[in-house]
């Protein structure tokens, strides 16, 4: 083997070792979560790293202690509502900000971007007061309304709309397609990776949301999965096997959604347009 080939393969081996190590570090929390849901508290605290035989027992205890189906249903409804409505609103807003020209649009966009700097906790109390007066507490509308239009999604769609070919836009207009028709029939199909990335981010943020739901959803019938998992940790005695079973159920939908959309997500993050 020549020195050049040795260097090439040596370098590649080092890169693979590094990547494998990073992959293990990334995947380990998920692995630990899954195997812990199969073990007892004593085994988890004892540092057992292999799957045990207590999965059914932990799940049975979890379902007997908490209304998992109701929390899961609430999480699904809240997440789907936010996902569909926020993608519909933010994609139109981002498209509009990029395609149409107006003197004031950059100022408006600047104001929207500045609102990203205000932490949610700062508006929590006035928002809750407002929603109480409007009768939105303990209702789906109360949960989803603050999440429907986010500066980040508008920015994401606006930035990606820059890659939307102007020639396509002009050709469609010349062919007599309406502006809404251009958006739906030309922009949406071409921006599929952007929609996938936005869907992934929105799904994760909404599914894992904790601060706002715990304030605005106050009855046991309206709690979400992250709130249910937090309830499992509240006692003087914590059954870690049951907690990890709850965490596993709470994590699975996010993992599944990410696996389904990962290719488009990567393309959108890399800025690719087909």
């Amino acid at each position: 083997m020549s020195e050049g080939t040795f260097k090439k393969y040596g370098k590649r081996t080092l890169v693979y070792v590094f990547l494998i190590l990073m992959s293990i570090i990334s995947v380990f929390p998920l692995y630990w979560c899954f195997i812990s849901s199969c073990n007892t508290t004593a085994e988890i605290l004892g540092g057992k790293m292999l799957p045990g035989s207590h999965l059914i027992e932990n799940l049975t205890n979890l379902f007997s202690q908490q209304d998992v189906l109701s929390a899961f249903k609430n999480s699904v409804i809240n997440t789907v509502l936010v996902l569909v409505l926020s993608l519909a609103i933010c994609s139109v807003a981002g498209y509009g900000f990029e395609i149409f020209h107006d003197k004031g649009k950059d100022i408006v966009m600047g104001i929207i971007m500045m609102s990203m700097m205000v932490p949610f906790v700062a508006i929590l109390v006035p928002l809750f007061q407002m929603f109480t007066k409007m009768g939105f507490v303990n209702k789906y509308i109360g949960y989803i309304l603050p999440s429907l239009s986010t500066p980040f999604l508008i920015m994401l769609f606006r930035n990606n709309a820059r890659t939307f070919p102007k020639e396509v836009l002009e050709a469609a207009r010349m062919d007599g397609l309406s502006e809404m028709g251009i958006f739906v029939r030309m922009f949406v199909p071409m921006m599929r990776p952007t929609f996938a990335a936005a869907a992934t981010i929105t799904f994760m943020n909404t599914w894992n949301a904790y601060l706002w739901p715990k304030v605005v959803l106050q009855t046991p019938a309206s709690i979400t999965m992250p709130m249910l998992v937090a309830n499992l940790l509240s006692g003087y005695v914590v059954d870690y096997g049951v907690v990890m079973a709850g965490v596993t159920i709470c994590t699975l939908p996010t993992v599944i959604v990410f696996f389904i959309l990962q290719k488009s997500f990567t393309e959108a993050v890399a800025g690719a347009v087909k």
């Binding site: 508290t41 004593a42 605290l45 004892g46 202690q65 609430n74 409804i77 789907v80 509502l81 569909v84 409505l85 519909a88 929590l124 109390v125 809750f128 007061q129 109480t132 507490v137 303990n138 209702k139 789906y140 509308i141 109360g142 949960y143 989803i144 309304l145 739906v184 029939r185 601060l211 715990k214 304030v215 959803l217 106050q218 009855t219 046991p220 019938a221 309206s222 709130m227 937090a230 309830n231 509240s234 006692g235 003087y236 005695v237 914590v238 870690y240």
Partner: protein
């Protein structure tokens, strides 16, 4: 394509309409209670509900599981408007001062409407703000020293050797046990200062003066406590771990001889079925050369607060259950929730011997301990001061000068208090 667009728009419309549907009904016109822990507070409240409804079948009581932090978040978000709050809520003992001070319109002053006689004085004092009482005491956080008798036997000691002793004698025994068994006596979470504050209250000390000002710099009792604590850590008699889970792990793995903590820790110990019969309890060591030193202290616990809502009279009538010995006797087997209502110590379940703890009637013993706990001066800024003391202890352990570390803790606490 048109079909697809129409379907998508219809979906958005349907989902939009669904958004206005109720996610759950807010309780109204009945007694609503917020508390946490299904196996402890909620189980106790369910029993209280069952016993109360036996005499008052028309009263509807809704017990909802809400985390301690979530209750606090919702009180903050309510900004004094009690329309979204329940009739009764559970409060951590050291949080009630802060919340009553910041949201006085939320908490009902029950001083003249509830009989507070026969409750443990140390517990009662925690819910008194400006001389007025805002809480019905529930579970005890009376400190116990729980020891593995099998480990002590290996070193030639019994629990009697650890009863009514001071920390100097404890250090001697700790060194000897470590030499003979290789085991530390105690464990605890680094920076959490539970043990330091337990020791401080055992000698009547506090992080605050009677007038509410911070009392950290130059606090001789606190300095003596931290010196003793740091000696234990430095000699390996006390091992510090990084998290609460690791602390529980040291008990379940049997890697320490015992623990000194609020009596609620016994629920965790009793869940370790393989260690049944290997434990016993006694009182904690007393400080040496400090005025007012005792072998008793308190750590943790919670209190029921009545919210200024429509059903105050009904809520107070219901909370009379917490003056009922039969109620405390009934909840004990399932919850191990130990009363702060002292007459409960004569109830049958309290006087029964515990096989897990070497035949000791642990519950009656703990209620007796509770009567001797020195009262503590507390403050709305308790958790701020506690965090600053934790930093001072950690820095002193790493070689920092204790006096200057406590001065820094004092300055930081006073800054938070707005002095």
């Amino acid at each position: 394509m048109k079909k697809l667009i129409s379907m998508l728009l219809a979906l958005v419309l349907v989902l939009g309409c669904a958004a206005f549907a109720e996610a759950g009904e807010q309780a109204d016109g009945k007694l609503t209670i917020w508390c946490w822990d299904k196996t402890f507070n909620i189980a106790a409240m369910e029993k209280a509900k069952e016993m109360y409804q036996a005499d008052h079948p028309d009263v509807e009581i809704d017990i909802e599981e809400v985390l301690s932090e979530d209750i606090e978040s919702r009180v903050i978000a309510s900004n004094g408007d009690t329309s979204t709050l329940p009739d009764i809520l559970l409060v951590q003992d050291h949080s009630i001062q802060k919340f009553v001070t910041n949201y006085p319109e939320v908490y009902h002053d029950i001083t003249d409407e509830f009989d507070f006689s026969d409750f443990m004085p140390a517990k009662l004092g925690l819910s008194v703000v400006d001389g007025r009482n805002y809480g019905v005491p529930f579970d005890s956080g009376t400190v116990v020293a729980a020891w593995r008798t099998d480990y002590l036997e290996q070193a030639g000691y019994t629990v009697a050797d650890l009863t009514d002793i001071d920390w100097d004698r404890f250090l001697e025994i700790g060194r000897d046990v470590k030499e003979k068994t290789g085991m530390p006596m105690l464990s605890g979470q680094a920076g959490a200062v539970d043990t330091v504050l337990i020791m401080l209250q055992s000698c009547g000390g506090s992080m605050f003066n009677e007038d509410g000002t911070a009392n950290l710099a130059g606090n001789e009792k606190l300095k003596a406590v931290i010196d003793t604590y740091n000696t234990m850590v430095a000699e390996g008699i006390f091992i510090e771990v990084n998290s609460w889970d690791e602390y529980i792990g040291t008990l379940s793995n049997g890697s320490v001889v015992g623990t000194i903590n609020g009596c609620w820790i016994l629920s965790t110990i009793m869940s370790l079925a393989d260690q049944a019969g290997k434990w016993d309890i006694t009182n904690m060591p007393a400080m040496v050369g400090v005025d007012g030193a005792t072998n008793y202290s308190n750590n943790g616990g919670s209190t029921w607060a009545v919210v200024n809502n429509k059903d105050i009279d009904l809520a107070l009538d219901f909370l009379q259950m917490y003056r009922n010995v039969d109620f405390y006797d009934a909840i004990l087997p399932a919850t191990s929730a130990i009363a702060t209502f002292t007459p409960a110590k004569d109830a049958p379940n309290y006087t029964a011997a515990s096989d897990f703890f070497n035949g000791t009637p642990i519950f009656a013993t703990i209620v007796e301990f509770g009567d001797s706990v020195p009262a503590e001066v507390t403050s709305p800024f308790y958790y701020d001061a506690r965090g600053n003391v934790g930093t001072a202890v950690t820095n002193a352990l790493n070689g920092g000068d204790l006096d200057s570390e406590l001065q820094t803790a004092q300055d930081t606490t006073e800054f938070t208090m707005g002095f």
